[in-house]
Amino acid sequence: MANRQRPPPAAARQPSPDSDLVDEEIVFDRRSLRLMIPDLFTQLPPVRDALVTETSRVQDETVSVCLPSLSGEDESVEYNGHGVPGLSRERHVNFLRKSLGKLPGAYVAADASRPWYLYWCLSALTMLGEDVTSYRESVVATARSMQNDSGGFGGGGRQLSHMATTYAVVLALALVGGDEAYEVVDRKAMWRWLCSLKQPDGGFQVCLGGEEDIRGAYCAAVIVTLLRLPLDLTPESPAWTGDSSVNLLTGVADYVRRCQTFEGGISGQPNAEAHGAYAFCALGCLALLGHPARIIPSYLDVPRLIAWLSSRQYAPEGGLSGRTNKLVDGCYSHWVGGCFPLIEACLGTSSSRITGDVAVGDPAATSSTSTTRSKARLPPAEESLFSREGLIRYILCCCQDQSRRGGLRDKPGKNSDPYHTNYVLSGLSSAQHQWELDEPEETAASEGAADAVWAVLPYLDGVQIFDNKDRVRPIHPVYAIPQQNVRAMKEYFQQKQGF
């Protein structure tokens, strides 16, 4: 075990007003002093342990690579008065358009995740204000080539249908919109396929013979609600009991509940470690099964979850990490950052106090064993539960690839990629906006909150550290694509008779 003293990271020398400053250090810090950057984002945290371990070593390294960007030290970058660079829209757009084009042979490892490239790039372009309807024809052709007669979409032609790639294709079709795109989906086969993945314990396999995890549950909930699929089970489904009250969404919320860990966060499957990506899947899934204000407190220990989510934000980085004692990563701007609008909706506003009882009509409530959970009244979050300024600083200072390549990334020193570009922008979007949800009606229909009306506004409280032109478009807090795209797709299938 290492017992060495833990020195401050190289870039983190902090001039203290009491000490004699040498000239070099004054020069070192002058730029950041001229800019309005709170010392919270330029200095090491006040409490640090001396013990060095692998975890503290990589954490210190990360702080070292982030500090120059956070302190306005990068000579090649233009900062505003708050020490924040602008969003390089044009370069990011170019990066995304390129990623949709022909990819070189080295991308062979992405052969089973091409639908993700479609979703990430189209979604990110949309948030950047680009019109993606010109991609409609290509998306239609690409999606068709990936659909299987037995339902669902694979990672490419003749690949097994997978929950994740199907989710990505459906969202890509919603993003380009239009009847032609919607009509690509063989909904009857899709419904049969989803039934074949539904497990008796409430969860979903990600593909036939594949693993069962909370991603499967979230993706299934998104697919079922967007495509307006029937909830009935086929007799071939592993979850079929003959009892007509048992349907596609039965037991899903219970499955989600079993994934909450002692830390308060959510794991990918029961008994594993709490992880940011699964927190979003859990909350997103619940928010589609019922009204967030009712269903989330019914199945999850909300105070512990909030404590865990809040612990994901670090200073001075300002960004979010995915697990306890892990490093910040731009993608958690969405996976963790995207949980806050859902949590805030769950807490409601001061005018509406939710007690957390599950409405009888909630499909997920019928088989619940957890309605005995104590219903402590929680106050609404009048202010943000996380530091929007910190996250926005991390995103704009540390996550932009400032070279000609463009795109967004995990952290300085890493390459940009479509995955990070999309999820960093999603996180930026949720940090720049606030969402309000209509009040749950006492007689909630079985559709749950799938039709809940979310109202979005730009977030205007406090000091705005970014320029107005750098505000990206808002996205639906659950489906993570613009609200009008969600509405248009749902309405299209709503009007259809049968499949």
């Binding site: 013990l51 062979v108 052709a141 080539s145 990672g155 860990t261 594993a272 220990d301 892990k326």
Partner: protein
């Protein structure tokens, strides 16, 4: 290398005896070209020119070209004008030209399709002949052949064109060596076709005409064919360069002859289309074919390995591999041993872990009633997990698999498992994955865990001795690094599981916070997590004021990035429970 050469040589002798050149190895291209003059090469049988020392094959080709056209050469020598030739020479020159054209004409081609001969002929005889060539009657043609015959013109040699392209600049010796290799290639091709034919007859269940026995392709024949195709592929590249379409690894493998690969064309305008390396594209086309045929066989297993080597993230291939392993009833432990290597080479891949999960699901029933076998398997898995976690201490999929394995093999009470985790926490006390696993081992142990109780809820069945032990363990580790949240989360989790008040650790937590609210100088916080817990403890005791102060100080000074959360917590104090 010497042994290889020897083998090749002996094989060649045998081949000569069998007069089957195709089973011999190809002429060695890097050997001393002097050996081509030993007279064993077909090149030696070529009509030699009067200039055997010609350096370039182009020179020799030109010389032969001239020899085959004696009257053209004569014409050139006399300045190029037909009038310089005698009438007899003129007549012979023209006949030669016409005859060579006629000789090259397709047998059944219509005479009108023949192109007219050179128009610079001035003699009337020439005009007659031209008429003949353009469709004259048999009589005029007879005249041409008579002239040609009398002049003993080398018509057949004249049909050989000048060398062009690749071969133009090479020496005669090189050309001869090349020629030899071309002959070998042709012979091999014939042999290869014979092999395929025999394969096809075997498939149809035919019998040998002479013996009446079933046609069977032996392993030796397949082995030889494999080698032959490799040599043919190499030779084609050597002779014709990389521009020639090369057969892929599988197309060249006789084992795959019966499979028609399913090639997928991307639709027009396909997005994020990958320019697949040829080897990958070929393998995938064979995979589609065998998956479609639902074939499960050793060669399919090898194919999946081949593809996984190029793209380990291909979930379809992994599931198909598992199906093969189970259908062929292969020893699971062999597959696990293979998988260990793949896993260590692909640390970030997670398909590997589901594959392992499937293997264990399949394997466990065979050892379920044998505790010794279970222990042995658990031990070998633990050893492998130790290795892989040494490379990547917080790998999420490895840890998820580990918790699955503990449940499956019932290792909750295994001292080795607990020790392995303690060793990892000793190595890095901030390894939260290890802490999480410990919590699972202790508090999900079916011996004393109530099914259905949530992770953040008290479980009355957990023995208090266990809670004591875990609380002490966490405290000990917190002392090493008080700002390590893993230890505090564990401590709080253990207290809640044991149904204990958080206040039972107030004294311990207070040790990390001094002089709260006593100004910048007096206030010392060694752990924000201790202060967080103290705020809860004060609230639990009903000391709202102190709780509020703790939360305020966290937001103001000690953990400012989370000020929004600390403020919300302060509001929680106001809300009646």
């Amino acid at each position: 290398m010497p042994s290889k050469r020897k083998a090749v040589a002996s094989k060649k002798i045998k081949a000569t005896e069998n007069s089957d050149p195709s089973s011999a190895s190809p002429p060695n291209s890097d050997r001393d070209t002097a050996s081509t003059s030993t007279g064993t090469t077909p090149a030696a049988a070529l009509p030699s020119t009067n200039n055997g020392n010609t350096d370039s094959i182009l020179d020799r080709s030109k010389a032969r070209f001239a020899l085959a056209r004696p009257y053209d050469t004569l014409l050139q020598q006399k300045g190029g004008a037909l009038s310089a030739l005698t009438p007899a020479e003129q007549s012979a020159w023209l006949s030669a030209r016409i005859a060579s054209r006629l000789a090259r004409r397709p047998v059944f081609a219509s005479s009108t399709a023949a192109s007219p001969p050179s128009s610079n002929s001035g003699s009337s005889f020439g005009r007659d002949l031209r008429g003949a060539a353009c469709g004259g009657g048999p009589k005029t043609l007879k005249e041409v052949w008579r002239t040609v015959n009398e002049a003993s013109l080398p018509l057949r040699a004249a049909a050989v064109p000048l060398v062009k392209g690749l071969e133009e600049g090479i020496s005669v010796k090189e050309f001869e060596a090349r020629w030899e290799r071309k002959v070998w290639l042709t012979c091999s091709d014939v042999a290869s076709r014979c092999f395929k034919e025999k394969r096809e007859r075997e498939r149809r269940g035919e019998r040998e005409e002479k013996t009446g026995e079933r046609v069977i392709v032996t392993g030796q024949e397949i082995f030889e064919e494999t080698g032959r195709r490799q040599q043919m592929a190499a030779l084609r590249t050597e002779l014709y360069g990389g521009g020639v379409r090369k057969d892929g690894k599988l197309a060249a493998d006789p084992e795959w002859d019966d499979v028609v690969p399913v090639v997928l064309e991307e639709p027009e305008g396909a997005l994020a289309a990958i320019a697949y390396p040829p080897e990958y594209a070929e393998a995938m086309s064979y995979l589609r074919a065998v998956m479609q045929a639902k074939e499960h066989s050793p060669r399919c297993l090898r194919l999946t390995e081949h593809i996984i080597g190029m793209n380990p993230a291909h979930y379809t291939v992994w599931l198909y591999r598992a199906a093969n392993v189970f259908a062929l009833k292969l020893p699971i432990l062999d597959e696990i041993a293979w998988l260990n290597e793949v896993a260590l080479e692909n640390l970030k891949n997670y398909q590997i872990w589901h594959h392992r999960h499937l293997l264990v699901e399949n394997y466990f029933p065979t050892i379920a009633s044998d505790p010794a076998a279970i222990s042995a398997f658990a031990a070998s898995e633990r050893e492998f997990l130790r290795q892989i976690l040494a490379e990547d201490t917080k790998n999420y999929h490895v840890w998820s698999y580990r918790s699955y394995l503990v449940g499956k093999l019932g290792q909750f009470d295994s001292a080795e498992e607990l020790q392995a985790i303690e060793a990892m926490i000793d190595e890095d006390v901030r390894n939260n994955s290890a802490w999480s696993h410990r919590f699972f081992l202790v508090f999900s142990n079916p011996e004393h865990a109530t099914p259905g109780v949530a992770a953040t809820e008290p479980d009355p069945k957990v023995p208090q001795a266990v809670v004591d032990r875990e609380v002490d363990y966490a405290k000990g580790k917190i002392l090493l690094a008080p700002q390590n949240q893993s230890g505090w989360n564990y401590l709080r989790g253990a207290l809640v599981k044991g149904g204990r008040k958080l206040g039972t650790v107030e004294e311990f937590a207070s040790g990390f916070v001094k002089g709260l609210g006593q100004g910048e100088e007096g206030e010392q916080v060694q752990s924000t997590h201790a202060l967080d817990l103290l705020a809860e403890i004060y609230a639990e005791k009903g000391d709202k004021e102190k709780a509020d102060l703790s939360l305020r100080r966290l937001g103001q000074k000690w953990d400012r990035i989370r000020v929004g959360y600390w403020e919300w917590r302060r509001k929680c104090l106001e809300t009646p429970a």
